[in-house]
Symmetry: C2
Subunit: 207 residues, 2 copies
């Protein structure tokens, strides 16, 4: 049985292939999917479909799915960096600003749990990450280091190596965020713990 020939050749949308920036559109779509349904729901087929493009089109712009996930992670670190910086600045670059940074960090994780998990879930293989000075991961971390150095100069924090102090503090906020993400702490409990941690750290890290 001959299937009826469509009157029009069922042409795709007018665009040659796709609008301007397919790689960026794919990244956006991936972030959206992860945020909405979790990382397991992210399939290249879905991304392609949602963008009106073949499911193999992605390979023109990313090496593979891993590479897409790495881009998602990088995007997360970029957003996180901006949030931290904003908290630090609007908080007055002092003690209050630093506390606000901690809260902002935990809030980012709680607000974007799946995205946060991609950033730290081992999806991004180490690789040459350390080489690239524009890598948003270290770049976000640097915001923390800078804030510590500034407080050291203001006599608010003891004069240990800033890198070591930054790692310590990062471990605390990351740990709190993880407890919240695993449902061991509610968002409210995480907030309380963050405040408690802030107090105790002030004592432990005083000059």
């Amino acid at each position: 049985m001959p299937k009826p020939r469509p009157t029009k050749p069922a042409r795709k949308p007018a665009n040659r292939y796709h609008h301007g920036d397919l790689p960026h559109a794919m990244l956006q779509e991936a972030v959206r999917t992860i945020q909405k349904d979790g990382v397991d729901a992210l399939t290249l087929r879905c991304v392609g479909e949602r963008l009106g493009v073949s499911r193999t089109a992605l390979y023109r712009h990313f090496a593979d799915k891993q590479a897409l996930l790495a881009a998602v992670a990088a995007e997360g670190f970029r957003t996180l960096r901006i949030s931290l910086l904003a908290a630090w600045e609007t908080g007055g670059r002092g003690r209050a600003g630093f506390d606000a940074m901690g809260v902002a960090y935990v809030q980012f994780a709680v607000a974007h749990p799946s995205h946060y998990r991609v950033m730290f879930g081992g999806a991004v293989r180490p690789g040459n990450r350390h080489q690239d000075p524009n890598d948003p991961g270290p770049s976000a971390f640097q915001v923390l280091v800078d804030a510590i150095v500034e407080q050291q100069r203001a006599g608010l924090i003891r004069d240990d190596a800033a890198l070591q102090l930054a790692r310590f503090i990062w471990a605390v906020v990351h740990g709190i965020a993880m407890l919240a993400l695993d449902g061991i702490l509610s968002a409210a409990e995480a907030g309380t713990l963050a405040k408690f941690a802030n107090e105790r750290m002030r004592t432990g890290l005083a000059p």
Copy 2:
């Protein structure tokens, strides 16, 4: 073309179906695979094959793959609990023992990175976890709480709520472990950071 009938009916190994405890064997095999090749390498087909059993046999004993992963996580918490307890006891249940617990925690994570990730990767959905008093997760956490209470009685730690203190300390060691797992810290750097954290926490949490 008739395919040649085998002289013997190609019978399986003598056992009726399998040796004694198939669920436990599956769990062991899953842990081994994850430890060796990562969680992505874990497939139900491989587990079945390795155990000389159909790839759907697992469904007799676990609801699905998620349930197997949950069992892997639980097994990890059981092992972790024993390690922590051992460090605490052999360290003399005091200040030294508590420091040893921290080191043991980080070492567990570094020695079993993939397994550790399953324990905290969100693979185990919250569910009714909180109800079960034998859940090895809370049980491992309890070791930490107990150690803190004992030190409070000995006048080594300030008299804040033990639960809050435990969460704080847990966040620190977990954060350090994560930094190590992500390759941001080497195992050696993680050790150094753990020591630094210990010192600062002693100050911050002193009575």
